[in-house]
Amino acid sequence: MGVVPAPTGLTQRAGTGPAGGRVGDSAPRPDGTLKVTGEFAYSSDLWHEDMLWGHTLRSPHAHARLLGIDVSAALAVPGVRCVLTHEDLPAATHYGLEIQDQPVLARDVVRYEGEPVALVAADHPETARRAAALIEVRYEELPVVHDEATATAPDAPVLHPDRADRVLVGDLHVPHPNVVHRQPVLTGDPEAAAARAEVVVSGTYEVGMQDQAFLGPESGLAVPAEDGGVDLYIATQWLHVDHRQLAPVLGLPPEKVRLTLAGVGGAFGAREDLSMQAHACLLALRTGRPVKIVYNRHESFFGHVHRHPARLAYEHGATREGRLLYVRARIVLDGGAYASSSPAVVGNAASLALGPYEVPNAHVEALALYTNNPPCGAMRGFGAVQACFAYEAQMDRLAAALDMDPVELRQLNAVSQGSSMPTGQVIDAPAPVAELLRRVKERPLPPERPWESAGPSGERSTDIRALPGGLSNSGHGEGVVRGVGYAVGIKNVGFSEGFDDYSTARVRLEVSGGEPVATVHTAMAEVGQGGVTVHAQIARTELGVTQVVILPADTRVGSAGSTSASRQTYMTGGAVRNTCRHVRAEVLRRAAQRLGLPDAEGLRLEGGKVVTRDGEALAALADVLGEGPGGAVELELEFRHRPTQPFDRETGQGFGHVQYSFCAHRAVVDVDTELGLVRVVELAAAQDVGRAINPRAVLGQIHGGSAQGLGLAVLEEIVVGPDGRIRNPSFTDYLIPTILDTPSMPVDVLELADDHAPYGLRGVGEAPTLSSTPAVVAAIRQATGRALARVPVRPEHLIDEDPAALGPAGGPEREG
């Protein structure tokens, strides 16, 4: 068997060089050059000389009984090496992030369109595809559960009749077995407060199913090993959670399943669940050949979970002065066919349901359903996005009812450090919500009618590219109305509700060729966010060296936890800092001993030397550690954030979150009110990041998150019919923002340190995805006067003759 030509040597070969950069610098990416030359090895680029191509046969039905599978025609195709069905599974048949309810291959029932049914390995991908099409599967279609009414009806088909997950153990906490999880939050006395309220507004809102739409498709290469195990090169967000699910499915001891991170083309939550990992490994182990699986875009829409669509009913009551007295909220999330991370999404939606506002009395209920719709799970913002769209719409509605400025109403009710969340958790770090709003509001507004300009002799000319509709030349500015909208959101950072959230870093300091070199090894999934850059910056800062080598992420080092929940700079950055500090202490101890000092008190590492507090050089690192690996100091240590608590099952009370992050947006839009076209002119943001470890990477996160929120506001939805089938699984029909859809995005970054966090930093990645959606929709509402209770806002919502259809009761019932 050939040796894989070190595929990840080309993803994270990161001798970052002397250009370097420390904490607080906009250091360049160590993988930047490889990415612009085309050499960076993404998971879909891997190649092995005798590899086979795997392909997945998927269910065409959203809910059906599997009566039989005949693979003989597929096996007879020349070039086909292997066909697998559920009967061939060697060990565990199910997996899952929180609840092991997802079949590796369907056995007697399929619960969503696109569920994997059989696998083919062949010499050529087209051979595998064609062979898969020859597999005969006999189905008997079953009634489809597609919303709350059909899921919880008395005669509803129970989708997981054997479920025995933690939600159902002991007490039946959910009202129906088609409810995955339910979390109430109760604080104060909302009934009494309702009686006192002078102004009450209510509304029902809907959020469509958004797709992460990372560009690098699900893919990887599984290589069978001589010890009977398997090496998997994979694009994922968390190597160790993949590993934990894979080993039982493969029937292998954990040490025989080794994962290495291949290049990852974006993630945004869609790589938290397994996709092709188990399938490629099963085919490789069965055939004894390396197997590569690469989804195309169509398959990708079926190959990962999406953002939960939601229906949210809210009632806000306030005093005449605008003080919030109470909120009632009910949030129904569609989890689709399998649990994925639905319970945690429910916890977020419930605990963050009221937004960054002080609300003394509240009754919230959030739940997620099992349906026959596509499975939903993690996407950037994770339950907080849906709530933010609804509570910010409510704040605007309340401001209108009170005849108040919507920003002033928000500032009046904004949380600050010391405020209580509805869970009873006191915010014990800066929470500059009012200040963030002030900053976006005070920014000068962009000029009106940007398509008009004066020619050299004063005549007016029109640049249609600056109009709603742009180059489609749909108009010249007739009927275009400007609107401005604001929103602010709150997102938790890190894993919550008592989860033992930790990361691990191994750091080695040695002298090589006379130069001190730090080597950092973690299992952190670099998915584009720039964690590898930050780790090198931290090592340089803590160890006073310039040369840092970042080793490829793999399962030979302890878990880094997931690249999600805005947590990696906090957690794996924190782990790198922590290990570096212990390595430094050992180096300084050795230096003190060598120098005959009583202890290392006051000694530092700087410029490759041991120096005193005053900067006087006492010894070169080469003198303390010697040349080569013999004198190296190496440690592998775990790092944890402060513990959290589960939310009480009935009241939702508890210290559930590690940290909160806040972002505010102001959106400026031009709306062609005759054609229903929207052009977002500017999307300004202000965010507190605690400490910007890499300011340029921070801006990249805020820009990228804001753009994804814009997409949800006006473009992006996976359209699912009542038959549970996806109508638009392509980039032709599922629209993500292009550079023409995305406006100028000025950003104001605050750095108010959170003393609980490494360097005072605050997770950055998700907060901007929350508030940009409601800000854009608020701006469209201001321009059009329409209620717009559903995202994405479509042209027909803006030109429909009957605005009442989109009024306070929410959008019209969705049809097919």
């Binding site: 879909s44 974006g266 032709t732």
Partner: protein, 161 residues
């Protein structure tokens, strides 16, 4: 079938090509040039953008046989190789310097489109840049740093930076 083509100035031959294969597949899987990316394989995302006889195309929409006898330029051809050293092209260097690369999957296609723009229009206005790059999807950056990178490359190549 056999396909003969010139890639980044070098004559190349691909054997055993199935007639249904795209130019993208041949580049990536048969010629060892995976720099052109496979994000949608339906001509919507631009991540497989290459030049075919000087014109920008989505390599996923070009049948391998259509490339017979023609010249293809890919992202792998943008940098100069001198000895063992790689000297990045101006657009490549600007993408690195401006922070226009996050996950990087869209980057090869955007580099080809931006390089083509600057060859045609050395002093593009922002609206020109947006128009030229509108066929290339990026999911990470929100495009702000990409605009910065193209502005930077334009300024550097015209000697104003």
């Amino acid at each position: 079938m056999r396909v003969n083509l010139t890639v980044n100035g070098r004559p190349r031959t691909a054997d055993d090509v199935w007639e249904g294969e795209s130019l993208l597949f041949v580049l990536r899987e048969r010629l060892g040039l995976p720099g052109s990316k496979n994000a949608c394989e339906q001509g919507e995302c631009g991540s497989c953008t290459v030049r075919l006889d000087g014109d920008l195309v989505c390599a996923c929409l070009v049948a391998a046989g259509q490339a017979e006898g023609r010249e293809v330029e890919t992202v792998e051809g943008l940098a100069a190789r001198e000895g063992g050293e790689t000297r990045l092209g101006p657009v490549q260097q600007a993408f690195v310097d401006a922070g226009a690369v996050q996950c990087g999957f869209c980057t090869p296609g955007l580099l080809m489109a931006a390089d083509d723009l600057l060859a045609r229009n050395p002093h593009p206005a922002d609206a020109d840049i947006r128009e030229a790059l509108s066929g290339n999807l990026c999911r990470c950056t929100g495009y702000e740093a990409i605009l910065d990178a193209v502005r930077l490359a334009a300024a550097r190549t015209s000697g104003t930076a």
